[in-house]
């Protein structure tokens, strides 16, 4: 099976998409490019602007395609780039077994009827006239560098940074005052009015450009509401206390990257990749994924990885946000998938959030977990994290052998096999999950509950959630 460039021109939604696809025609952006034995299916992983790569797949026979990116153009630039690269050099695509995520897409296509091969302009003649690969690859004339304009731009950026800092400074004081007001008004009253009150202060924080802090405050009521009535007061006090600590720490050191990330905005991908941030090359396993829609209309996609080789850096978090109105986004990874990669970690006292700097093409699935021993103190690990970052919200834990237990009140707990430690669990677990013997568990501790992500059990590896 072969693909021709006119075919790709034909399905491109517009010239801009072809232009964007041309910029992705670099092997370095594609840690994985494969095809099946019959050269009918092609698939790849493209490292986009987010932390999670995009999974792209196409059926060469009918030009069907699918990409996990949130683009609303069909096909997106990633799909076009994959097909384009294949059209120009099928030999660069390694022959491989069709992965499950491609098979699942194929299954859905077959069940719902074959996808139409023509996207965008249906008429190939007019399409060719309006969209051109040649034009997309044509070198753009270099824009002359205007030193004056550059200096002006830089000065404006510096001015913006100062304005933002001053604005956030005031906003954090405003937040403290708001917290004090809630204490004065009584936390009993606050609990019943929390969503509305948090929404209002979060809006003020957004106006003041403290975006990340605003998101945290806005999400506070839903985090509290997920707990039992008797736990809510403690959780509320803890969370408000953490906010006080965070804003004060930021005011003390507004240039600290970790604090800036927790209050205003994270660094860009390029900033992290170009920096001398901690870099760890290892074999990683995808523990699981947590996707949640936030009040501010963003969907948070968190992929948790754990290190399968010895080292200090046990966990990594690939975190992306995208607007909820773009619809459901497919997962970038499959739980249990293992791969070699160099991760670059966002700097901070707790290095957790990371980016994939370089990914090996070979996938492995046979490395075993570095399981903790029964005597390991889970709470000292939690305390260690809180000592370094007292406002931390989520702490990943690797727990030793244990079992799921129930209290008389119908709550579920994870309990160590030697009964030395017990942690309450989030949500409900089905009977089968509760019945398995857990040899090791990876979970996310939020200060009140453990969200189990994955485990090794007497029935092999199991995923929760």
């Amino acid at each position: 099976m072969s693909l021709s460039l006119p075919q790709i021109e034909g399905i491109a939604p517009d010239q801009a998409s072809l232009k964007a696809a041309a910029k992705l025609m670099k092997p370095g952006k594609w840690p994985l490019r494969s095809r099946d034995a019959n050269s009918q299916l092609i698939w790849g992983e493209c490292q986009g602007s987010g932390s999670n790569p995009y999974r792209v797949m196409a059926d060469v026979t009918d030009l069907g395609y699918k990409c996990t990116c949130p683009s609303r153009k069909f096909p997106c630039k990633h799909s076009l780039a994959l097909m384009w690269m294949y059209a120009e050099g099928a030999g660069d695509f390694s022959e491989g077994t069709v992965p499950d995520w491609v098979t699942e897409w194929m299954g859905r296509r077959r069940n719902t009827g074959t996808a139409t091969a023509t996207g965008g302009d249906d008429n190939p003649k007019t399409a060719a006239a309006t969209k051109s690969i040649a034009a997309a690859t044509a070198a753009e004339p270099a824009k002359p560098v205007d030193p004056k304009a550059e200096a002006k731009k830089k000065a404006a950026a510096e001015k913006r940074a100062i304005v933002t800092r001053e604005s956030v400074q005031l906003a954090t004081l405003d937040l403290e005052q708001w917290i004090a007001d809630q204490l004065r008004g009584g936390l009993a009253t606050f609990q019943s009015a929390a969503p509305e009150r948090c929404r209002r202060i979060a809006a003020r924080l957004v106006d003041a450009k403290a975006q990340v802090l605003a998101g945290r405050v806005d999400e506070l009521p839903s985090r509290i509401a997920g707990l039992g009535t008797e736990e809510r007061l403690d959780a509320l006090i803890t969370e408000l206390g953490k906010l006080v600590l965070l804003v004060r720490a930021w005011r003390q050191n507004p240039d600290d990257p970790a604090l800036h990330r927790s209050v205003i905005a994270p660094e860009t991908r390029e900033q992290i990749l170009d920096s001398d941030a901690l870099s760890v090359s290892s074999r990683w396993e995808v523990a699981g994924e947590r996707i949640s829609t936030r009040k501010d209309g963003l969907v948070s996609q968190a992929t948790w990885l754990h290190n399968l080789q010895a080292g200090e850096q046990r966990f990594a978090l690939l975190l992306d946000f995208f607007p909820a109105h773009l619809g459901k986004r497919s997962s970038s990874f499959t739980a249990g998938e293992q791969f070699d990669a160099t991760l670059k970690f966002y700097p901070g006292p707790q290095t957790l959030r990371a980016l994939i700097a370089e990914r090996g093409t070979a996938e492995h699935g046979d490395a075993s977990w570095l399981t903790p021993s029964q005597g390991d103190n889970i709470f000292s690990r939690i305390h260690q994290c809180l000592d370094a970052e007292p406002w931390a919200m989520t702490i990943p834990l690797m727990l030793p052998a244990g079992q799921i237990c129930e209290t008389g009140s119908g709550r579920w707990w994870w309990q160590a096999k030697d009964e030395s430690t017990a942690l309450p669990l989030t949500g409900a677990l089905d009977a089968v999950t509760r019945g398995i013997a857990l040899d090791a568990t990876i979970g996310l501790w939020n200060g009140s509950r453990l969200d189990p992500v994955t485990a090794l059990s007497n029935f092999g590896r199991v995923n929760f959630g």
Partner: protein, 477 residues
């Protein structure tokens, strides 16, 4: 610790009602926090950290470990096969029969399903392979504890019901008399539905020594149990029958010479005048035992089955087959099944007889079943159960349906499209996936792919599952 706990409780209590928490703080903390609004904010940060660091979660009640899910006698299938298994199960989620066939395929390769991929449900509890009896009992929350020893009167109550049935089957196979005596002693202690399932198991190694017990069940509280016992007695030729009903049914049948110069007899359903008569005849087949009807024509059961004319009345055939399946002795179902398969037509009528056929007879019939054109290997699957996934490709690739399948694949590869053919092909791939051994499945997949179908095509899910199930040391050899 109690001191700080009390202090924090007092602070929290004051904040709840809008009072200053700092008034309840200890002297040590007061020196740290100062006074006014600033004191409240500092106290809030301190209290929050104290709650995070100073206390560990303690359950309000004693923790009760969840009931452990029992491990089965076979290991769970390899991780690599689980994805194919889930897809095959999802494809056939609405068809309990195929679902059970998939489980049998997995079991015959020496594995069990992963509990996260499949668990028995109450809706199909009676069809679930015995391998999963511990999970059925676990799901039903049945009390008792798993037993390792042989089932006996003493330990009867200590068994989970599903596991007890498995143990009873084993006992009946080894020592039929001991099993019957045990059932006679304990049957009345179990509910009617369970009693019916256990009495059903007496059909295994049914013999004259069972007659007295089966006759005693005539007084059972359950009508279903009485009917089942009567059917088992009929198989032994020991069931009393209503002479009037037998005569009424015999009136609707005719005994004729099979061929002009032959002494063989043919039993032919008479042409009846109206629907009411035809309906009544069908009903009589379910009320009269085979041996009594044969006697009415002065024939043995075997002669009657051999002489039954399968060419006259299809509905009558079905009723007659049911009668043979329920009340015929152990020799006649095989004879009737062979006759039906030889006709190469209406093989669906055979299904009722299959549970009564010995394994050797089923094996012999598979070859004939594969020769039936248009069956798409379905009868071969039914005859192979529960030992699915064992058939070699060489024993199947000469069959008319396999040849037709190969031709259809080639035509589709050339671009021909025919929805009917595509549906038939998908069905073939499924049945082949259930029938073939791993080598055969690999070869079939290769053949289909070579003709242009994608390896990931969902139609191949069953074949892909088969190919992923490398036989374990516990597989059926």
């Amino acid at each position: 610790m109690a001191e700080i706990e009390n202090e924090l409780a007092a602070i929290k209590g004051r904040w709840m009602s809008g009072l200053a928490g700092s008034d309840a703080a200890s002297a040590n903390w007061k020196t740290l926090i100062g006074s006014g609004t600033e004191a409240e904010l500092r106290l809030l940060a301190l209290t929050g950290q104290a709650l995070q660091i100073g206390f560990v979660p303690v359950p309000s009640d004693k923790l009760q470990p969840s009931r452990p899910l029992p491990e089965l006698s076979l290991p769970v299938m390899p991780q690599a096969a689980r994805h194919s298994f889930r897809r095959a199960m999802a494809d056939n989620a609405q068809d309990t029969q195929i679902t059970m066939q998939i489980l049998e395929l997995v079991e015959s390769r020496g594995y069990s399903a992963h509990p996260f991929d499949w668990m028995p449900r109450s809706s199909h509890s009676s069809d679930v392979p015995a391998l999963y009896a511990p999970w059925t009992d676990w799901l039903n929350n049945d009390v008792g504890k798993p037993q390792q020893e042989t089932l006996s009167e003493e330990n009867w109550d200590g068994w989970f019901p599903a596991e007890r049935r498995s143990a009873f089957t084993a006992l009946r196979t080894i020592d039929p008399d001991a099993a019957r005596e045990l059932l006679a002693a304990k049957a009345l202690d179990v509910p009617a539905d369970e009693r019916l399932r256990l009495i059903d198991l007496l059909s295994n190694r049914l013999g004259e020594s069972d007659i007295a017990y089966l006759e005693s069940l005539e007084k059972d509280r359950s009508g279903k149990v009485k009917t089942r016992a009567a059917q088992l007695l009929a198989r032994l030729g020991a069931c009393a029958s209503d002479a009037e009903l037998v005569a009424e049914l015999a009136e609707t049948l005719a005994l004729k010479r099979a061929k002009l110069l032959s002494s063989a007899k043919a039993v032919i359903p008479k042409k009846l005048k109206n629907n009411a008569q035809r309906k009544r005849r069908l009903e009589l087949f379910s009320l009269v035992p085979l041996h009594a009807l044969a006697n009415a024509f002065e024939l043995t059961s075997l002669q009657f089955v051999e002489g039954w004319d399968l060419a006259t009345d299809e509905r009558c055939n079905h009723a007659f087959i049911s009668m043979v399946a329920n009340t015929g002795d152990d020799t006649v179902p095989a004879v009737l099944a062979s006759r039906i398969v030889a006709l190469k037509d209406d093989q669906y009528a055979l299904y009722e007889l299959i549970p009564r056929l010995p394994g050797t007879v089923k094996q012999q019939l598979i070859g004939d079943a594969l020769a039936i054109e248009g069956d798409l290997f379905q009868l071969a699957v039914d005859l192979s159960r529960p030992a699915l996934g064992q058939l070699k490709l060489e024993s199947i690739n000469k069959s008319p349906d396999y040849k037709a399948m190969t031709t259809a694949i080639a035509e589709i590869a050339k671009g021909a499209t025919n929805r009917k053919t595509e549906i038939a092909l998908a069905h073939c791939y499924t049945t082949l996936g259930l029938l073939l051994d791993k080598k055969g499945a690999d070869a079939a997949i290769a053949q289909v792919i070579a003709s242009g179908t994608l390896a990931s095509d969902p139609q191949l899910n069953m074949l892909q599952l088969n190919a992923a199930l490398t036989p374990s040391s516990r597989s059926i050899k």
